[in-house]
Symmetry: C2
Subunit: 406 residues, 2 copies
């Protein structure tokens, strides 16, 4: 990532009764490439080389690799490939140390010792602000490594190599990092654009079917709130997607990533200072379901259920035409994603549905006012600030009945 | 602080052999007031009220106060004043909890448990992204609280109330936070502009003379590298400053803060992505001296010595006219700041001066190339990328002889 010079830099000095106020103003420009390639560590593939040398072609750059344990399992030759790649371009790059393997999955975001261990290694190996941390893995590993890289030396250059559908089409291309703490998801984190994102389609091939499916939920989400044409494409290609055909998967991932990037660049609020989160459609319930199932549900699986729930609510609230619900749920059926979960109906000791607490937790995460995105039509979201609990119960009931009838 | 909508939001899609690249681009605008007032917590002073309500005048805002133990010692009535202020404006503000007292001085940046305890309290008290953390204290407390606030929920709104000369004229008005780790100063931190900075001149009155003096070093520094006229003013008013006269102190602080703010806004690199640190004039040796003296030297005292050393080096290297050195050292003499320290001459077991290691540590902190600011004339810095050890030894020797002769 380059950040170009800020273009506003004026100070205004105002007298305000006895108080003198200087108004500090500046702008920071962010730029980073999100690349889609095949065979990233094949020596002939110049993408990583040209990324690392983009701004200082003459230097030998130091790279610190962090690899998701799940990726290592699927690609046992990966470290050899990395060594060979670095060796082939040794004038321009060197390893700060042997690649570090990080336990994949949400667990790595729950263990503060892991962040601490990684920071210690940055310090021990003399990783500095001009070094590159290359994180290869799923969303959780990218989040955790990104948090460590984002806070060490006030930010080390981070190259993300997302390896799952979900990270290639969503979290991995964005500007956030984070780890969980005190029982709160992403309680700690920063907004910190990466230096580059390098997506290699080959990593998708070795995913479990379940993970290939789960990652489609974010594509359905962003299509539903932003792009009717993409939603139509998803429906038309649901059979290919259900069979994980490579060209359909590749287009689904790339278009979803593009919509996500476009949102960040044009929303007016890339670092989320306001309390609206249009991209969090379906996410209030998804976050809660992940916790209630102790992360037995994948994030994408939970998002699919959250989308189904909020789509059903949108219909019940009279925002969305009746027939849209079946189109949405039908798409999930086709690609093999469930629209419900038994825990949607679980109650606490007070008799209240446990899922409902997710709304208050979501509000608290946003700060201030509750803002939830619902659907006005297929391809267009609408923000609401109140959720009617009665309608919510009716929506859950309706989805459960639909599931039981299938 | 408000961040205005980014104004660039275009994606360019390029084909690059088999690789498809989307270039993500956006800008983030930052804006925050730096106010100079008197009696911040006097109920009639509307500054804090108008700051907190600037963007949402209708809401009741939650404030979480963190107070430097040193400030509490000097202002035992401060918590009562805060309660009274909040009470007087209870429609617009409330306390998230009783103010938290934080051990002042560098020690608070060395103890990871303190950050952890503060984060726990944010979580326990439901502090969210729209809440305000108000940090009242010296630079170390502002840095530590700023780091906790900057990483919790990916950034809680931070209002800084700097209470020392050094924090009011320098660190407290800038965009950084940090804590020490693994023996490295500010190893952990983020670039995170505050929501507002509220300087109350009354806090200066109760500082120890030693701290009033130490804070002047940053004013001398920024004047020397940026503003000949301000340097002249400092020389002309050195007697008043030596007596800590309020109007001279207030102007010195405000002008120094303005130059610091101007640098951030116009340098082209507010978040320090490059490896130049023009404002770190005199700081490589200062950082090392602080460590060597186990922080017995105040930061400002160390900076004064670092400035004297690099000014002397500038003369020895033929960059700066001979007579400038005496003008600079004379100013330090007048305000009561030492230009040397015995540890400048201390050697390690290998016979090498310990201070010299500070250069390599500084280079490592910057990452990549060593960039040190030296002086070309009074009011103008110049960057150099190599330091001649022989000239450095000669400079140390010369300063020590000057000190002994006094």
């Amino acid at each position: 990532m380059t950040r170009m010079p800020p273009e506003v830099g004026n100070l205004e000095v105002k007298m305000h009764s006895d108080t003198h106020i200087v108004r500090q103003r500046f702008r920071v420009s962010y730029e980073y490439p999100v690349a889609f390639t095949e065979g990233l560590f094949t020596p002939e593939n110049s993408l990583l080389l040209s990324t690392v040398t983009a701004y200082e072609p003459e230097r030998q750059h130091r790279l610190f690799f962090c690899i998701d344990s799940g990726v290592m399992d699927a690609w046992p030759g990966l470290i050899t490939d990395i060594h060979r790649y670095i060796h082939s371009h040794s004038a321009s790059m060197s390893l700060a140390c042997e690649p570090v393997i990080i336990q994949g999955g949400e667990a790595c975001k729950n263990d503060p010792q892991l962040v601490q261990a990684l920071l210690t290694k940055f310090a021990d190996d003399g990783v500095d602000r001009q070094s590159f941390v290359v994180a290869i893995g799923g969303g959780a590993v990218l989040d955790m490594v990104g948090y460590a890289a984002g806070t060490a030396h006030r930010g080390i250059r981070l190259i993300r190599v997302p390896t799952t559908v979900l990270s290639q089409n969503d979290a991995g291309v964005g500007v956030k990092n984070g780890v969980n703490a005190f029982g709160n998801k992403n309680f700690l984190g920063t907004f910190c654009p990466p230096f580059a994102v390098l997506n290699d389609v080959r990593f998708i091939d070795t995913l479990e079917d379940r993970d290939k499916r789960a990652g489609m939920a974010e594509a359905v989400k962003v299509a539903l709130i932003r792009d009717a044409q993409f939603f139509e494409w998803l429906c038309e290609h649901s059979a290919e997607l259900g069979r994980f055909e490579r060209s359909a998967m590749a287009y689904m991932i790339r278009r979803c990533a593009e919509l996500h990037l476009q949102h960040i660049a044009t929303s007016g609020d890339p670092f989320e200072y306001g309390s609206a989160r249009p991209l969090d459609f379906g996410h209030w319930a998804a976050h809660k379901l992940e916790v209630l199932t102790d992360h037995a549900l994948r994030h994408g699986e939970a998002v699919a259920i959250g989308i189904a729930l909020d789509s059903c609510y949108s219909v019940e609230a009279g925002l969305l035409p009746e027939e849209a619900l079946e189109t949405i749920c039908g798409l999930f059926d086709d690609v093999g994603l469930a629209c419900t979960h038994d825990l949607l109906e679980a109650s606490g000791v007070d008799g209240r549905l446990l899922i409902v607490a997710g709304l208050e937790e979501f509000r608290q995460h946003l700060g201030g006012e509750l803002t939830v995105t619902m659907l006005r039509k297929l391809g267009e979201g609408v923000e609401v600030h109140e959720i009617d609990e009665g309608l919510l119960l009716r929506s859950i009931d309706r989805l459960m009945r639909r599931a039981r009838a299938a």
